[in-house]
Amino acid sequence: MASVKDAVVLDLATQSLRDANAYLHEHAHELSGKTVRILNPAGLHSIAAGANVDTRIEIEGHAGYYAAGMNRQAEITIHGNAGCGLAENMMSGIVRVKGNASTCAGATAHGGVLVIEGDASSRCGISLKGTEIVVGGSVGHMTGFMAQAGRIVVCGDASHGLGDSLYEAILYVRGAVQGLGADAEEQEMTPEDFADLERLLELAGFSHEPTEFKRIGSARQLYHWNPDAAQDY
């Protein structure tokens, strides 16, 4: 692997994705604290998937499906757009996309922070399990579908079905909401919400005021099949 300045360079024009990912997995110890630049990603799928390394990874272009999938520890920046399932099931670290993200960004993700500077498509944060997602632009339909824990901050607008079947995740939207999904409701902002928002906006690098956002949470009416029937089934 050629070293350019301090960065380790993995060029997907000259080496296979499989080799590049294997390098990230097998050299985690020596890569700690370093920077890895992935050149010519060319929309390939699963770039840096399964990384478990305390490293900055710069993906210099567009990424396909499942970029940064199941990430642990790594601080991954995609200098382009990302395909379906960006950072799906990530556990920790920070994943940042300079462009837009396709469907299901941050699906089922458990921890860490996901920043999408542009727009995110439908079902962003689906079945979210703890990750904090900040979207600089707008989000597509069914964002936060069945989201269980974590936060989704939307600096632009949200399409219909927002927060459908929400559990305990909290969504914040700055712009217009085209429509809420089943069991999602607008709720009053608390001091904790303002503090969380301030922290997340600062971390993501957006200068909006927390007071510009509204909070969407679960009305918890779907938590039991039929409240009238108690547990009698």
Partner: protein
Amino acid sequence: MRPRIIENKMSQRPLNQEENASYDRHTLAYIHLAAERGVYDIRGLGAKRRLPTLDDLVFLTASASRYPLEGYREKCETKTILGTRRAAKPIELDIPITIAGMSFGSLSANAKEAIGRAASEMGTSTTTGDGGMTPEERDSSQTLVYQCLPSRYGFNPADLLKADAIEVVLGQGAKPGGGGMLLGQKISERVARMRTLPEGIDQRSACRHPDWTGPDDLAIKIEELREITRWQIPIYVKLGATRVKEDVKLAVHAGADVVVVDGMQGGTAATQQVFIEHTGIPTLPSIRLGREALDEMGVTGQIQLILSGGIRTGADVAKALALGADAVSIGQGVLMALGCNSHQWMDGDQAVDATADYERLGVSPGYCHHCQSGLCPVGITTQDDQLQKRMQPEWGARRLKNYLQVLNMELTTLARACGKSNVHHLEPEDLVALTVEAAAMAKVPLAGTDWIPGDPSRG
């Protein structure tokens, strides 16, 4: 039908007790219950209705035209290798009988541990379920298949890297097209934590995967799982049996190393009764369809087929293998070996009667399907601290090992009698059907004839 006549002492006229075939007592009870509760019936286990099954087939064992093997002296191989197509480390099992995916949550930690111990002793695999991998099952299971389900409850890369194989679950026979359920009674503090859910809610799992849509996406998803696991371990795709031929072909297209087909007799810990009884096709026709799909794709020998859904006996295993399965998977039979529906549980070496606990669920031992309630009288499908102590892992493991051993002995008995020195050499030619339905579904002749309904060359 002749009306039953019962003397009416009040009027001296007979009461009319003519059964209505459309609105029989079963249907009436269903309508009354629906009207009372306003929520559909949710229960555990699998289809209860009578279906064409493997029981409708018999073996044509050796006689003058075939040469049998001696039961005790001559070896009959049962070794089974799964996932040979792409994985660097395929799964090697001593027997072709595996344990189906059942979650911690639906089952107690003790039950999971017992299953792991028994499977390891018998040299076979166990499978996690919708709720993640517990340390108990990883530690007790020599070979553990890690399920990737739509909900992704408790799914994480650390456990993924501890798995011996991955099973991407698209559906299950009890409820193809439906998501899992776990009712509030079973969402204990530990289960809730593992699934990132509030304690005590009625959990409804998603029915579709969150990050892919359709077989072309699935191909990319499978590749991601391979990248993360370094192309070391096999990837199974599990399907509920509906359009088996098409679905198996698409699973192959998506890159599966092993395809698991779960027929409609397959069990569940909890789902709508309407799903259990009215969706999917029986296990019997699923086997041939799955094998035909692999044959037509030219991948027989490279991609393995596991069949599940109501496999109970060694005869079932042998017939499934003869019809084209490389292995079978068992769920409900495993629970019954652990004591499901038994009238008693063991406190040390003391048997304790559980009839009263069954009665509290409104059933007698032998008729229970209330896995969803979390009040399992024998401690298997529960998260209750006291109840789960009723199933001691050592005791359960011993019983389950015995059961698996019997299945394997019966399997080899039949294989030897068919003249096979390897159970995987059993073939459709070894079977005939007792009913026209079974002959058509299994595509073997009706006993005593050459007739295979639907086969133009044998019609």
